[in-house]
Symmetry: C3
Subunit: 268 residues, 3 copies
C-alpha cells in the first residue's frame, strides 16, 4: 500500500524519540513545541562539553547552523562524533548554505560524516552539492525541480536521504525519488516551520530505526505529517498568528489516516 | 486559613517584581511572557559583564543552566554573587542535572550558595542531592514521592525551599512538607512551562520578601498559580498550541479565589 | 495628505525587504514572526564571521544589544561596518541603555556610526543622549515628553530619525517632530513588541530607501503599523496570550486605510 510509510507516525507517538537539537536560537522554542506536539521529546543540548555525551543517549540529532556561535560549531562537531560512535541518526539542515561563506565551509566539512538525512530548500541543497550559489538568506531562489540532480548527488555521496522543501517536497535516496504534495503557503509566514521539520525528521528516523520502515519512508512521513498539519491549520486560520497555533494543534491531533488522505505522494 | 498563601498573588501584581532570568535559550521568550502575564517584569541579563550589577537591582534571580555556554556559566556565577551581596533571593533550576556531567558538576558547586528555592523534577532533585543518577534529558524517571528524602536533605542543607514538580508537586522546607495537586498533563506538551515556573518562583519570592508571607508559602503560591492556569487552559483547549495561548491568558486572568478553588493543598 | 506616509506599508509588502537582526535571544522568534506577518523577510545573521557579509545583501539591519554575548558584540560591530560600506540603513535599539554600564558604553560607541534610526523608550533615549540615568531594566521611568530634547539632540547628532516609544510615540528628525497616538497597553504584556518594532523600522527603511518617502515617514509608518495592529488585537483579545496571536494576525491583515483610520498623527 502506497501509504504504508505512515506507520512511522504511530511509532513516533509510541516511542517518544528523544531528539537532540543543535539549532539556531530563532527557532528553538518553536522546534521544541513541534516535537512535543508530534509525540517526540526535545533536548537542546548544544555545548561542546555536553553534546557528544548526549548524542549517545538521544534517538536522533539535528544539526542546524542557523545562528552558529564559535562554541556551537564546536558543539556540533562533538555531537556528530558522539552520534556516529553511538549509531544515532543525525540530520543536517544546511540553513543559508551557499549564501554565506563560513557556514558553507562548515557544512561542506560535515556533509561527508554520513548524515542519515539532509533537509533544506532547493538553493541550499544545490549549494551544498557544489552546483550553485545559494539563495537569499533563508529563502530559496532555485526551484525544487532544479535541485533534483543535486539531491541525487548528495544522496549517493552520503548514503542517506535528501529532502528538498518547496511548493512540492522532493525526497531522494540513492535509488528512489518521491514527490510529496502537501502543506500550505502560510507555512512560509511562520518562522521555524522548515527548521522544525529538520528536527521532526530526526524524530522519525530515531523512532523507526529498529523497525522495517526505511529511512526514506521515515523522512517522507515526517514531511507528510508537517504538510498535513499545515493543510488542517489553513482550514482554520487565514493569518499567520492563529495559523501557527492551529499548526501545533494539528501536529498533535492528526492521525495517520488523515495524513494519508490529505497529502499526495508520487514515486518518480 | 489554609489558602492564606494566596495573598502573595496579589503582592506579585502590586509589586511587579523585576526578575532577572539567566535561563536557556529555548524558553526565554515563553518565560518572559509567563512573567508578564502573571504580573512580574522579566529581564534576561545574563552576561558576566552585567549580571552581578543587575542582580543588585532585581527583586529575584533565576539560574537555569539549560543550554549553558561558557560565557553564561560565568554570568551565572556573577549573578549569584551579586544576588547574595544585595540580598536578592535566587532560585536554582537544576535542568537535566544528573543526566549530564558538566552541568551536574556546576549545579553541585552552586547549591551551597544559599538559593532561596530550588525547583526541578524528581530526577533532578534526587541527582542534585547526590541520591540518584538523573532522568532522561529533561524528563524525570523518578516519582515525586521518591524525591521527598532528597528534597528534605537539600532544604536542610540550603536553608531554602525545595519544590519538586510532577503529577503532584511537593514543596519542602526544613520543617514543612506540602503537597499540591493542580495542573494538567497538557502542561508537559508546552516547552518552558517548568522552566518558567522557576522564574515565577523567583517573582513570588521577590514580591513577598518584605511581607509576612513565608518563602515556603510564596513558592507554593507560584506553583498553585501555574497549576490553576493549566487547569483553566485545559477547559478551553485540547491541543498544545491553543493550550499554550489559553495558559498565558489564564495566568493573567485568574484571581486568588479562583486559584484557591482549583488547587488542592495538603500539609504532610 | 496627512497619511501619505502609509504608502510605505504597500512598499514593504511589495519589496519584502530582507532584514538582518542582531538582537537578543528573548525576542528572536517573535521578531521574525512580526517581520514575516508584516511582509518582510527576517535573517538573524549575527556572528562576526558572517554579519558584515550579510549586511551587504540585507535591505536593513537591526542592532539590539539586549542579551549581548562577547561574540555578538563583535558581530554587531562588523554588521554596522558592512551596512555602512554597502549603504544599508541600520537601526539602533538601545535596550536598557543607562540602566547597565557595559551596554551603555557600547551604545555610546556606535551611536555616531550614523544609524538611520534609533528606537527606544524614553529612559533609553534620554540615557543615550547623555541626559539621564536610564530606566528599570527594560522599563522606562521617564515620560515620552521628557525625552523630546534628547531625541532632538540625537537626531541632529546622527542625521537620522529618533523614535521614542510610549503611551504616545514621538518621531523626531533634525527638522520635524511628529506625535503618534496608537497602540494598546496590552502590547506591554507581550515580550518583544518593542524590540520587533525596531526590526520593523529597519524593514520600512529598507523598503522605502529608493522611493520618495522620507526616512521620517518610513519610521512613522512602522510605528503606525504596529500601533494599529495592537488596537485591532485589543478588540479581539483581552489577555496577553490571545492578544499576541491576534497582534500577529493583525499585522498581516491590516491595510493602509485601516491603519490610517486607527492611528492619530500630529505634527508638532
Amino acid at each position: 500500500m502506497a501509504n504504508s510509510f505512515l506507520d512511522s507516525l504511530t511509532l513516533v507517538r509510541q516511542n517518544t524519540p528523544l531528539v537532540q537539537c543543535l539549532t539556531n536560537s530563532v527557532v528553538m522554542q518553536f522546534t521544541a513545541n513541534v516535537l512535543l506536539a508530534a509525540g517526540a521529546t526535545p533536548a537542546m543540548v548544544d555545548t561542546p562539553a555536553e553534546s557528544a555525551e548526549f548524542a549517545a543517549v538521544a534517538n536522533g540529532v539535528l544539526i542546524n547552523a542557523g545562528t552558529p556561535s564559535a562554541e556551537q560549531y564546536q558543539g556540533m562537531t562533538k555531537a556528530i562524533e558522539g552520534a556516529r560512535k553511538a549509531g544515532t541518526p543525525w540530520v543536517l539542515d544546511p540553513v543559508a548554505v551557499g549564501g554565506l561563506s563560513e557556514r558553507t565551509k562548515y557544512a561542506e566539512g560535515i556533509v561527508d560524516k554520513q548524515p542519515a538525512a539532509i533537509r533544506g530548500n532547493a538553493s541550499e541543497v544545490v549549494a551544498l552539492a557544489g552546483l550553485g550559489a545559494g539563495g537569499r538568506g533563508v529563502d530559496a531562489t532555485d526551484s525544487v525541480e532544479a535541485a533534483l540532480e543535486a539531491a541525487q548527488l548528495l544522496a549517493k555521496r552520503t548514503g542517506g536521504v535528501v529532502a528538498v522543501s518547496g511548493a512540492e517536497d522532493l525526497i531522494v535516496s540513492a535509488d528512489r525519488v518521491t514527490w510529496l504534495r502537501s502543506g500550505d503557503p502560510m507555512l512560509q509566514l511562520v518562522i521555524g516551520t522548515g527548521c522544525s521539520l529538520g528536527a521532526l525528521t530526526a524524530a522519525y528516523l530515531g523512532a523507526t530505526v529498529d523497525s522495517d520502515i526505511s529511512a526514506h519512508d521515515a523522512v517522507l512521513a515526517a514531511h507528510a505529517h508537517v504538510g498535513a498539519a499545515g493543510q488542517i491549520a489553513a482550514q482554520k486560520a487565514s493569518a499567520p498568528g492563529s495559523f501557527a497555533v492551529a499548526f501545533i494543534d494539528a501536529l498533535y491531533d492528526v492521525d495517520a489516516q488523515a495524513v494519508a488522505s490529505l497529502v499526495d505522494v508520487r514515486e518518480a
